[in-house]
Every structure is written in C-alpha cells, then in structure tokens.
C-alpha cells in the first residue's frame, strides 16, 4: 500500500485550518450566544428572585397591616363594648336612682299626705276636744278654769334657772299673765304670788285669752310659760301623732 506524504501534509494543514475556521465561525459564536442566554437566564432568575423577595416583603407588610387592622378592630370593639357597658351601667344606675328618687318622692308625698291628713284629723279632733272641754267647763264652776294652775305655774317658774327667769322677765315691760277669763281678786293674788319669782317690780298685767280653756300662762316678748288646758290638749295631740308615726 502506497502512503502519499503530500496528501498527508495537505490533510494535516487542512485539519488545522478547519479547526481555526470552525472555532472562529461555529464554536465561538454558538458558545457565546449560549453563555449570553445563560447570563440572561441568570439575570432573569435574580430579577425574579428579587421580585419574589419584594413580593414576600410586600405580602409580609400587608399581612402585618392586616393583623394590625384586626388588632385595632378588636381594640375598637373592646373599647366600644366597654363604653357601652359603662354607659349601660351608668344609665341603669341613673334609672335606678331616678326610680328610687321617684319612689322616695312618692313615699314622701304619701307620707306627707298621710301626715297632713292625720294632722288635719288630729286638728279636728283637738277642736272637737276643745269644744267638748269648753262645753264641760261651762257646766263646771268658773273657778275650775283657774284652780290649780297658779301652783303649777309657780312650780314651773321655780324649776327654771335664775338666768332663764331673768331672760323671760326682760326689760321691755311685755311680761304679762294670760288667763282664760278675768281673774277674781283671790285668783289674781294667787297668780301674782305664783309669778313672784319673775315679777320683781310688782304686779303684772293680766290678759284674757278664752282660747286657753283653763289655766294660767306667763307671756313676754322673750317667751311663754305654757300652763293651760288648751296647750295640754295640743301636746297630747302631738304625742298621739308622734305615737302614730312610730
């Protein structure tokens, strides 16, 4: 078999030239475009990752905002519920107070009305008692309206302190004896003797007040020493009213 060295040399050079040609016009541009695509893909992947990270961040922010809104909503609801509860309690308390006040007012009104009626009835009863007493005293001797009362007045005046007696006597000259009818001389003497503890300047004037029914009182601008049947009846009526209240 013949070996053609010239052909071998040609083919050797041809292979080297072909390597240069394919490297220049085939492998280099193709690998370059592949590398560019790879870098573009990497860039897009990084951009996508960045976008995904931004989206995750935004989603986290939205989630946080949503949670904050939910928390705020719960807080507002709790505040509103608390305010409503407080307002409800205040309204209930106010209504209870108003109801209690209304009940108290009603009870007060009823009580006052009852007391008024009772007082009116008692007044009528006193008037009736006075009328009856008046009738009865008219049938008794005239002394019955005064007898015993000078001694009683004397006991009351003696029970008073010296200061109280001086205060009652005063210095304006208004101190006087009040009797249910004009006094007889003996009765006047007894009366003067009874008020001797306060009548230091001599005899006191005697004033007639039929409303006393019976008794002998001492009056001045500084006070009154009650000592009459009329006053006793009134005191008995007040005691009865007080007893009814209890």
């Amino acid at each position: 078999m013949h070996f053609d060295w010239a052909t071998f040399a040609f083919q050797l050079v041809n292979i080297l030239v072909l390597m240069w040609l394919l490297g220049r016009y085939f492998f280099r541009p193709v690998t370059k475009i592949i590398a560019e695509r790879q870098s573009e893909v990497d860039r897009l992947l990084k951009a996508a990752e960045a976008s995904q990270a931004e989206a995750e961040t935004a989603r986290g922010a939205v989630q946080a905002a949503r949670e904050a809104i939910a928390a705020e909503r719960l807080k507002v609801i709790e505040t509103a519920v608390g305010e409503a509860e407080a307002r409800r309690a205040a309204m209930l308390a106010k209504a209870a107070d108003e109801a209690a006040a209304a009940v108290a007012n009603a009870q007060q009104a009823v009580t006052e009305r009852l007391e008024g009626e009772q007082r009116e009835q008692m007044g009528r009863a006193v008037d009736l008692a006075i009328l009856i007493t008046h009738k009865l005293l008219d049938e008794l001797p005239a002394e019955a309206r005064v007898t015993g009362y000078p001694e009683r007045l004397s006991q009351v005046l003696n029970a008073l302190s010296q200061e109280r007696r001086a205060e009652l006597a005063g210095s304006d000259g208004t101190l006087r004896i009040v009797a249910p009818r004009p006094l007889t001389k003996p009765e006047t003497a007894l009366a003067m003797a009874a008020v001797g503890a306060v009548a230091q300047n001599g005899a006191l004037p005697v004033e007639v007040d039929a409303g006393l029914l019976a008794g002998l009182e001492l009056r001045s601008s500084q006070g009154v020493i009650h000592n009459s049947l009329r006053y006793d009846l009134g005191r008995i009526a007040e005691a009865l009213v007080s007893h009814e209240k209890r």
């Binding site: 053609d4 052909t7 071998f8 390597m19 370059k32």
Partner: protein, 233 residues
C-alpha cells in the same frame, strides 16, 4: 467511483506537488462547513430559531461528552474534539454523493487526524503537568513501564488511524463491489449502513481522542463550570 479505494487519484498538480482527490474533497468539506457555519451563526439571537437550536444542541452535546470524559471544563478541548467529530462525520457521510469518496477512506487523512490527536495529547499533557511532570507520567506506576507506555502512545495512535481507515474503506469497498456485481439500487441498504457506521466511527474517534487527552491531563484538571459555558480557546 474509483475501482480501488486504496489508491489516491491525482486531481491536479501545483508545480511539482500533486494534489490528490481526497484533498480536494476535504477542501470541499471544509468550505461547506465553514460557509454553513458562517451563514448559520451570522444572526444568532437569545430567542433561538430551529437551526440555532440545532447548532446549540451540537455544541452542548459535544461539551457534555467532553466534560463526562475529561471530568473538567470542556472549553479548552471543544474546538479540537468538535472539529474532529464534525469533520470525520462529514467526511464519512460524503459518500452518499455519487462519485465522491470519503477522504477518511484514505490512510493519509486518517493518519493526519491521528497525528493531530497525538500532538494535541502531548501538548495538553505538557500544559497541564509541565514538561517534567508529563514525562514522569510515562514512569507510572514504575520506571519499568516507560517502554510500554511509549509504545502505547504509538500503538494507540496507530489503532486510532487504522480503525477509522478500515471501517470507512471497507464500507466503500463493499459498496463498490456490490454495485459492480448487483446493480444500481442494491447497494442502497449498505450505503445506509455506511451512514450509521460513519456516525459511530466519528463518535468513537472523537471520544477516543478525548480519552487520550484526559489520560494525558492526569489529576491536573480544571473543574467543569456549573452553568456558564466558556468561550472557545
């Protein structure tokens, strides 16, 4: 078709130098590959067309085969191995054109291819390990192995050459015999078989060249890039 594939017909002469037909056919293949590459790669885009995708598929397939064999980045070996594969494939498949013999059916072409691999293997080995380091690889695992390793360098190059020559030449030879004996259409199945054989031989040649380079590199290999392809060296 040439009656004897073992003989080189002279196409023309350049002074005292006779230019054989396989050289002319090789020039034609080179022109077709170069022009086709120039045309197809003239307007590459990030949004690839079908033709561009085919080109990229070829390059990425070559790269993946290199990286799987060398276990390092394919960029330094892409042009050599890729050119060997594409040229051998084109040279083997040129037989489908009536009246054209594949250049690889002639021993000179296969010898030139094998010599290229031989020199490239030594060059890559020296670049990766240094001259002394590369020479020391012949003494592994023992100095006793130096003659055997030197012989292996020669024999594996010869086997590379003879394997390609024998397969392609025999195919052309068989087709020529059958054509002369049976008739026009009978060799077609054999020609189809030759296409398959030619593709397999191109793949084997390129892979063996890659294996020889990987053996010369030893442990000094650059790790392959994970994602980004490097440009041609």
């Amino acid at each position: 078709m040439n009656a004897s594939p073992l003989l080189n017909q002279v196409a023309f002469t350049l002074g005292p130098v006779a230019v054989s037909v396989p050289v002319v056919v090789t020039w034609g293949i080179m022109a077709a590959l170069a022009v086709g590459s120039g045309v197809l790669t003239r307007a590459l885009h990030l949004r690839a067309s079908r033709a561009q995708m085919a080109l990229e598929l070829i390059v990425t397939s070559i790269d993946s085969q290199i990286e799987a064999t060398v276990q390092s980045d394919a960029a330094p070996f892409r042009v050599l191995v890729g050119t060997l594969f594409l040229f051998v494939l084109a040279a083997n498949w040129i037989a489908v054109i009536p009246g054209v013999e594949p250049p690889t059916a002639h021993l000179e072409t296969d010898a030139a291819l094998a010599a290229t691999v031989f020199v490239a293997t030594i060059g890559y080995g020296i670049r990766a390990n240094g001259l002394w380091g590369y020479l020391r690889t012949f003494a592994e695992p023992s100095w006793v192995m130096v003659p055997l390793n030197l012989v292996e360098q020669i024999t594996r190059t010869l086997s590379l050459m003879v394997r390609l020559f024998g397969n392609v030449m025999s195919g052309v030879f068989v087709v020529g015999i059958v054509l002369s004996l049976a008739g026009l259409l009978v060799p077609i199945p054999l020609m189809a078989l030759d296409l398959l054989t030619g593709a397999v031989q191109a793949y084997i040649f390129a892979i063996l060249a890659t294996v020889f380079i990987a053996a010369a590199l030893g442990e000094n290999r650059q790790k392959p890039a994970d994602t980004v392809l490097k440009g041609p060296v």
